[in-house]
Amino acid sequence: MKRSPQPTILVLLFVAALLLAPLFLPAFYVTLLNYIGLYAIVALGLVLLTGVGGLTSFGQAAFVGLGAYTSAYLTTVHGVSPWLTLPAGLLVTGLVALSLGMVTLRLSGHFLPLGTIAWGIALYYLFGNLAALGGHTGISGIPPLQFFDIELRSGREFFYLIWAVLLVIILATRNLLDSREGRAIRALKGGTLMAEAMGVNTPRSKIVIFTVAALYASISGWLYAHLQRFVNPTPFSLTQGIEYLFMAVVGGVSHVWGAILGAGLITVLKQWLQDWLPTLLGKSGNFEMIVFGLLMIFVLHRARDGVWPFVQRLFPQRRPGACPIKAQALPRRPLPETDSVVLEVKDASKRFGGLVANDRMSFRVRAGEVMALIGPNGAGKSTMFDGISGVDPLTSGAVSFCGQRIEALPARDIARRGMSRTFQHVRLLPAMSVLENVAIGTHLRGRKSFVAAACRMDRDEEARLLQEAAAQIARCGLYEQMHEPAGSLPLGKQRIVEIARALAADPCLLLLDEPAAGLRYLEKQALGELLRRLRSEGIAILLVEHDMDFVMGLADRVVVMEFGRKLAAGLPEEIQRNPAVVEAYLGGVE
């Protein structure tokens, strides 16, 4: 998700145009705009799901149907007020989406879309075959919406409601994305490993965006039912669900405004093709789908970000602010006493099938020391890190962190206890700024929820989190690059961004996987200086590094690994003299 840097004035102009539109446009265009608005609400959910979260659904039309049918049924059969059927529809849709999400979201990514296809078809046939819902003929005579004494009977009146709802949803979505939970959602796209290591509960984030997208669809369905005042299964079919996804992708699946653009483009194009294609081909039928399909393939081949980026270039870009606003500093975690044991690894083993990557490894790390884990390539150092931090749990053995056993805990719970790490293969979100990347590290230090974020009730906390992130960036010497996209930095600097992100979590134990790789001499010196300062503050550091000068000049103690086993342990100078270590590194003297 790129922050859409639209100056507010353009948005105001857009709103003004919307206010005037129904007064001047002929009825046909008002109807068209109504549908664009309804579709855009659904497409917006898909932007959140697909473009931001990296998930997708072909079954959104079924959720629209749930909202529409709930209201249609309750208002016509039980005479419930339409204002009460909206929450009822949201409840039904929410429950269905929650259970569907819980089922599919733990599996790899492609099971969700396949599940939504199956679900979309099943629900379509269910609508068409339940006698209580009118079967394939549907339900008619749905009452109009009523604002006090005004009945919204015409499309012109409805126009304002639809677009007001859409604008509120856009605002809420943008607010949500620009927040702590929003960053966690955006982190999903870079894979769940890093997000989990930063304490994000990724299954929960996925379920939340899936549910939110379904709720948007449900609102659209409620509006649709009371605009048409008639529902039947056709508009809730899988084909329509696919069309919603096309709208989001063509418009620009990573951009909030892309949803409106896509809904507009596809709706107008469809109208035009439906007039034009049957005459051209001499047959009637849904031939516009041929064009849409080819268009989609073209977009995915040539402009994966859709049309919106091209539109965006026409507008002036807003420059990011120099530095976050001053806010109260975040509370810090009390650090363990110097020299107390922070981490104790005992008989830790990790097997991948027949390969033993870690074989009964044991060592301790104390507060206020730098402990280096060295060894030839393939010795199992990174695997050891993954085992300790819970990213890829050990096969057997025990890990105690600050006196508590953690080997069975998921990565995010370990992170919560004050362990933070970097990755050997940098895991940043290249399109997000350095500041936002580092702010992901502060995830566990805030507590405001999705709802608070959507309503902008999280600004105080957000300012404190961003200030903390900025402070860690400055501390690591990247102040100048704070607002640049993380992907634009050289690899060595990206590693430093990872350290800043780990520090933003306020850890008492820092695991650094090859932090000095790719750094120049002066940068290495600066990094060494930073690590010494952290050590003097009482943070324990466990370090994997190949640069021996760097390690020997910095580490208090060294553990050497070879073939998954501990080869030697001791002070740096002892290690340098150890014949077994010399042999492992240089080969034996024959």
Binding site: F58, I242, H301, D392
Partner: protein, 344 residues
């Protein structure tokens, strides 16, 4: 329900299940080799059946136009690339394969009157028209973004699916077709009447599965596909071209789809969009196998066939609802079983 009805339903379910099993195998194959979730698999079923029906009715099947169009498109893509590389010697071959062969086929169709040909020749012609569409679609739609995420490839699949559905309507019209029966034999087995055609479907499916087994176990191309499925990069380092493996798996998938369509079209009326639901039922089977295991996918597909035929007896209106919601318990079971560790 008495035993006789149960046997009848069972026979029906196994017949459909055999077809779903074939499709499930193709889907697992394509996914394993290319990471493409091949939603358009079902369209090949419909195209195979309707092309054969067209030939039998003496019409020129619309698939020939698609073949010509895709051939021209590939020739343009490959040709412009050859021109850019100043590799002029490749041009004749590109033109011959992509334009010459389809034109030759079109000429043959014009020259012969397919309706009067013997059935096996008609089947062969139908396969020649439909099967090349598989690799051609791979070349045009998937190969340029072969390295994209599973999600992007899936969206392309859906786009290809809607395009083909639209073209199917254009080529074959909205009315359904049946093809001539391969055999009129029927015999009694105990209490029930077994149709020869039904038996043919089951036997042919089994034979295809056995043939696939030998292909994968005994031939160099089969082994190349298996190697690619296990480790794409490793296979490429061993000289197995990723695009060749892709083309090959799509050829197999298209052939399996078209054959399935040809096998069932004498017993079921096929419409231009029938393939989609048939293909998706294959998917339910494939998902039971986790999109990875061939035997479990095939068994799952048979189960889907049985579930479908028995639910059509008890609650015929809710047949599709039951079949497609059955995927949910499967997913629950899978999600409890697997602990998903993320790939790089």
């Amino acid at each position: 329900m008495d035993l006789q009805i149960a046997l009848l339903l069972g026979q029906d379910g196994i017949t459909n299940g055999a077809i779903y099993a074939l499709l499930a195998l193709a889907l697992v194959l394509v996914f394993a080799v290319t990471r493409v979730i091949f939603i358009p698999q079902g369209e090949f079923v419909a195209f195979g059946a309707l092309t054969l029906a067209g030939l039998q009715a003496g019409r020129l099947p619309g698939t020939i136009w698609l073949l010509l169009a895709l051939g021209t498109a590939i020739a343009l893509v490959e040709g412009s690339r050859a021109l850019r590389d100043r590799n002029f010697r490749r041009l004749p071959m590109i033109l011959l394969v992509n334009c010459g062969v389809p034109l030759l086929l079109a000429g043959t169709l014009f020259a012969l009157s397919p309706a009067s040909l013997p059935l096996p020749v008609q089947v062969l012609l139908a396969l020649m028209l439909v099967v090349p569409l598989g690799p051609m679609i791979y070349r045009l739609a998937y190969q340029p973004i072969a390295e994209a995420s599973v999600l992007a490839l899936l969206i392309v699949s859906v786009a290809v699916h809607v395009t083909l559905i639209g073209l199917g309507l254009l080529f074959f019209g909205a009315e359904g077709s049946r093809t001539l029966s391969f055999t009129d034999i029927s015999f009694e087995l105990g209490d029930i009447l077994v149709q020869g055609q039904t038996l043919l479907v089951v036997v042919a499916s089994l034979m295809l599965i056995v043939a696939l087994y030998f292909f994968f176990e005994r031939t160099i191309y089969g082994k190349a596909l298996r190697a690619t499925a296990m480790n794409r990069t490793g296979a490429r380092l061993m000289g197995i071209s990723g695009s060749l493996a892709g083309m090959l798996s799509f050829t197999l998938a298209a052939a399996i789809g078209a054959l399935s369509g040809i096998l069932i079209s004498p017993i079921t009326t096929i419409y231009y969009d029938s393939g989609f639901l048939i293909g998706l039922k294959g998917f339910v089977g494939a998902i039971i196998g986790g999109l990875a295991s061939y035997p479990v996918a095939a068994a799952g597909a048979i189960l889907v066939g049985l579930l479908e035929s028995f639910s059509s007896f008890w609650a015929s209106a809710f047949k599709e609802v039951i079949v497609f919601t059955s995927i949910i318990p499967v997913l629950v079971w899978r999600s409890l079983k697997t602990r998903h560790v993320e790939e790089e």
